[in-house]
């Protein structure tokens, strides 16, 4: 039996009927057509499906969509809405080539966003620990770490240190 679901994704409210065993990942991709969030393993090990739920990074493949009811979900598409400038993290990944095939990239960037929200001035070891749940097979991680450190600096310079992406100016609340 389908179950009602209300959630906010990238600042937009949605009301849906979903299969109670559907993952948040499948609802994002199949129902909301947000294909930026990727499936790499479906079992929570690769991190390609990382999104923010109320600001916390989660593997969208492991979360039942119904468990995101009444919550605020931020995906890669919500980090810098179309036509706006890139988020400093995105800009840094472009400038530093912190990506190759790009398949893990949305998840890596969302994990990094959560990390920087908590720790605006991380060391490179902090970044490595913060991204330990995101597997990248292409880059060897070095350019990713450099990208995140650059973005952290940029956010601090812009006075945006500690900002939770997708929630700019909004009051953080848990339903």
């Amino acid at each position: 039996m389908m179950q009602p679901l209300r959630l906010s994704v990238n600042g937009r409210a949605h009301q849906l009927l979903v299969d109670p065993v559907a993952s948040l990942l499948s609802v994002l991709r199949d129902d909301l057509q947000l294909w930026g969030t990727k499936e790499g393993c479906g079992t929570g090990y690769c991190g390609a499906c990382t999104v923010l739920v109320d600001g916390d990074p989660v593997n969208a493949c492991l979360l039942f969509a119904v468990d995101a009811d009444q919550r605020e979900v931020t995906t890669i598409e919500g980090l810098a809405p179309e036509k706006e400038d890139l988020h400093p993290l995105q800009a840094a990944f472009v400038a530093r080539s912190g990506l190759q095939c790009g398949y893990c990239t949305p998840g890596v960037i969302m994990s990094a966003a959560a990390l920087l929200a908590e720790n605006p001035a991380p060391s490179s070891d902090d970044v490595r620990r913060g991204l330990a749940g995101n597997i990248c097979r292409c880059t060897g991680y070095q350019s990713i770490v450099e990208s995140v450190l650059d973005a952290a600096e940029q956010l601090r310079k812009q006075g945006r240190a500690g900002e939770t992406p997708g929630r700019r100016g909004r009051i953080r609340s848990r339903a």
Binding site: R29, Q33, L34, W35, G36, T37, K38, E39, G40, C41, G42, T43, G44, Y45, C46, A48, T75, I76, E77, A80, E82, L86, L89, Q90, A91, F93, V94, A95, S97, L99, Q100, C101, G102, Y103, C104, T105, P106, I109, S124, V127, R128, R129, L131, A132, G133, N134, I135, C136, R137, C138, T139, G140, Y141, Q142, S143, I144, V145
Partner: protein
């Protein structure tokens, strides 16, 4: 105009990828698509008594079922014709596809798969190289004598490849050596490790042809193979490549594409097949496992005199693209060292496992690990510094390879010296810390590739190359620079399209470190063709001689008269709207070698070879055997770096893949089945496992490559395991001779020396 070529530049696809708007195959959504599923063998070896799909086909929602009974009765041709699309008589590995189903829903496809009735007669299986080569071993291919094969291939029972390189008199040289060292090694098999599982969408077209959306390393080759198999005119088959979520050699051959296409030909709706990580692991074209024995002799002063090396590789149930591993292993076994007497052989055997493939640098990590660990053991026996032993024997310009190829642009010494210096070679370290080195060589290659470049009325530039962008940046990071440099335009003026066989030009695909060599040449030739036409047009417009006109900042400018200029867009407009040029890669003949020295070897000389050294520092916990790599430096000769950002990306990524190969990555089997198809227990390195990496870009130009380049993608994955193994030995006095060097294996190696 600042020199673009050779400067660090971002990738053309980076913005799409960081926004999440880049589309991969699983993101391709066609209306009304059917869901597909592959039914797989539950046995490693069994005779198929019967297959009955009748009951399954009648179930609700089922649109089509394909199996051996309704697809062409043909063998695929990979030098030995040993494989059918679906097997008719025997299944030969656990997970081998036996049927595929298309249905309205995934659940209905699953129900149909369960209802297909197959009667198997399980047979004794062959699960490793020793079992395969044993006397009276069961045969993976009981009918091998009936198979057609090309003349150079060896096929005898479970033996499906055997090549040999011999020079001088090894026995006599060993007899007069002051030290003789023997080492034996084992290699586990491992996955390519791309994060995007295989997927394909296929649709039958009104003309009876097929369109396939896929993420392939080789869409043009795949298209020809598919058309040939299903007897379709090749022009009626279209492969539209998407962004590819990593490939590493695992996406050269078709996988999901075959089954989606076979089903789509029987359906009037598109068929979508997306593999789970588990299914992908069953059909992943892994790196070959196997073993090797080395026996070498040296004079007391460190001069290497002789080497005998013998490899056996497990290629799985079918030959596929597995043959290269054995050919490359013998080419690497004694390189890059002057050893006057060599006897190097490699055998390839069938086993009842999935088909091994051409994972990034096939044969490279295995052979280099064994050879470089062995070289260090010779150094220890001589009481000599491992770097000094290598430098004493390393090739120089004019030396010959074991197959008699005369070598030039030999940069092995420079890579050794610079990598060693980068990790502080020779300086004191703490207890249980050690340094290790590993040096090797690799080839460049060049495939067929064609390209078109056109300047549009608005000044933008379209680059059409069929070279797939699989993540390496060969297309997105390299090609735009070549065009921008030739035409004097900005990188942001260039539009690069993804491979599509209907609209783009032919390219032989990503593999063999060939992309920039072949597609780069084609694209640059096309850009120079456009340049010539632009200058011709500008002669009329500017009333100047072409040698007085330069192209810069998107304009044709008369030298010394900067106001006298015209935009490229205006030139295109004057020429009717666009100016287009085409180009193609040159063909190269293989370098000469001495045919007397080789036997059954299809790859005995290497074009524009490159040299690479990795140096590693490790810390070993002797209580647990845990190894932490604290620093890696790779010095790689790339000939010339068109975009150093891309080159460094390949070196860093290769270093960490090599680290995974060295320490953690291993497919584990239980009675023929893979235990760890998931990423929770197949351990790809994470950001905390990876050390800081120093990339040292050495540029010793090749004669053949455009701008002197050499192949870049594969070498950096070959050297890390040997460096890490040698560093472990330096740290604690012993190292495992099996990769991966897991904590348990390190601990056992330590126990063995403390027991003596």
């Amino acid at each position: 105009m600042p020199q673009l070529i050779g400067s660090q530049q971002p990738r053309a696809d980076a913005t799409e990828k960081v926004r999440g708007s880049a589309l991969y195959t699983a993101d391709v959504r066609l209306d009304n698509a059917l869901h597909a599923l592959v039914l797989r063998s539950p046995h490693p070896m069994a005779k198929i008594r019967s297959i009955d799909t009748g009951k399954a086909a009648a179930l609700p929602g089922v649109a089509a079922i394909v199996y051996s009974g309704n697809v062409p009765d043909k063998f695929l041709d990979f030098g030995i014709k040993d494989q059918q699309l679906f097997p008719t008589t025997y299944v030969r590995y656990m997970g081998e596809p036996v049927a595929a189903i298309a249905a309205e829903t995934q659940a209905q496809a699953r129900a149909a798969a369960d209802a297909i009735q197959i009667v198997y007669e399980p047979l004794q299986s062959v699960l490793n190289v020793d079992e395969a080569l044993a006397d009276n071993a069961p045969l993976v291919h009981p009918d091998w004598q009936t198979y057609k094969k090309s003349e150079s291939r060896v096929l005898r029972g479970n033996l499906c490849g055997h090549n040999h390189i011999r020079q001088g008199d090894v026995d006599a040289a060993l007899a007069r050596s002051d030290v003789v060292v023997e080492s034996s090694f084992e290699f586990s098999s491992g996955i390519p490790g791309y994060i995007e599982p295989r997927a394909a969408v296929a649709r039958r077209e009104p003309n009876g042809g097929l369109t396939v959306w896929c993420g392939s390393q080789n869409p043009y080759g795949n298209r020809e193979e598919l058309a040939d198999f299903f007897d379709l005119p090749v022009e009626n088959v279209r492969f539209i490549n998407q962004y590819v979520g990593g490939a590493f050699g695992g996406k050269i051959l078709m996988a999901a594409e075959w089954y989606a296409a076979a089903l789509a030909l029987r359906c009037d709706r598109p068929v979508r097949l997306v593999w789970s990580r588990h299914e992908d692991g069953l059909n992943v074209f892994p790196r070959h496992g196997g073993k090797a024995v080395f026996r070498s002799g040296a004079a007391a002063d460190g001069t290497l005199l002789a080497m005998r090396a013998s490899f056996v590789f497990d290629t799985g149930a079918y030959i596929g693209y597995g043959a290269g591993t054995a050919l490359i292993a013998t080419m690497i076994a004694a390189a890059p060292y002057r050893i006057p007497n060599t006897d190097l052989q490699a055998r390839l055997v069938y086993t009842n496992k999935q088909v091994a493939g051409s994972v990034r640098a096939p044969g490279g990590p295995q052979a280099t690990f064994a050879k470089e660990m062995h070289i260090d053991e010779i150094a220890h026996a001589l009481g000599m510094d491992p770097l000094e032993l290598r430098l004493k024997n390393v090739w120089r310009d004019g030396d010959s390879s074991p197959t008699g190829q005369v070598l030039s642009s030999v940069s092995a010494r420079e890579t050794l010296e610079r990598a060693a210096r980068a990790i502080g070679w020779g300086k004191p370290l703490e207890k249980n810390q050690g340094r290790g080195l590993s040096c090797s060589w690799w080839f460049s290659s060049c495939g067929r590739s064609e390209a078109k470049v056109s300047v549009q009325r608005d000044g933008s530039v379209d680059v059409e190359s069929g070279n797939p962008e699989v993540g390496t940046g060969s297309a997105a990071g390299g090609l735009p620079i070549l065009v921008a440099q030739a035409l004097g335009v900005k990188l942001s003026d260039i539009r690069l399209t993804l491979a599509d066989t209907a609209t783009n030009t032919y390219d032989g695909g990503v593999g063999g470190s060939a992309s920039t060599f072949s597609a780069g040449q084609a694209v640059e030739a096309a850009a120079l063709d456009v340049r010539r036409q632009l200058l011709e047009q500008a002669e009329h417009t500017l009333e100047a001689r072409s040698e007085d006109i330069e192209l810069r900042d998107g304009r044709a400018v008369v030298r010394g008269a900067p106001d006298h200029s015209v935009t490229l867009g205006e030139l295109a407009g004057a020429a009717g709207g666009s100016i287009a040029g085409s180009g193609q890669a040159r063909e190269f003949s293989d370098p000469e070698f001495d045919a007397e020295l080789v036997q059954s070897h299809d790859f005995p000389s290497w074009m524009a070879p490159s040299f690479t050294t990795t140096a590693a520092v490790v810390e070993v916990d002797p209580e647990t055997g845990r190894v932490r790599v604290t620093k890696m430096a790779t010095a790689q000769d790339v000939g010339f770096a068109i975009n150093p950002t891309g080159v460094i990306g390949q070196i860093e990524g290769g270093a960490v893949q090599g680290l995974g190969y060295a320490l953690s990555e291993e497919l584990e089997f239980d009675r023929g089945g893979i235990v760890n198809t998931g990423l929770g227990d197949y351990l790809l390195p994470t950001a905390v496992d990876a050390p800081p990496i120093e990339s040292i870009v050495v540029e010793s130009p090749s004669q053949e490559g455009p701008h002197g380049i050499k192949g870049v993608g594969e070498p950096p994955v070959t050297t890390p395991a040997g460096a890490i193994g040698n560093a472990i030995r330096a740290a604690v006095g012993a190292a495992p001779h099996t990769v991966p060097m897991t904590p348990e294996r390190v601990w056992r190696a330590l126990r063995e020396i403390s027991a003596h």
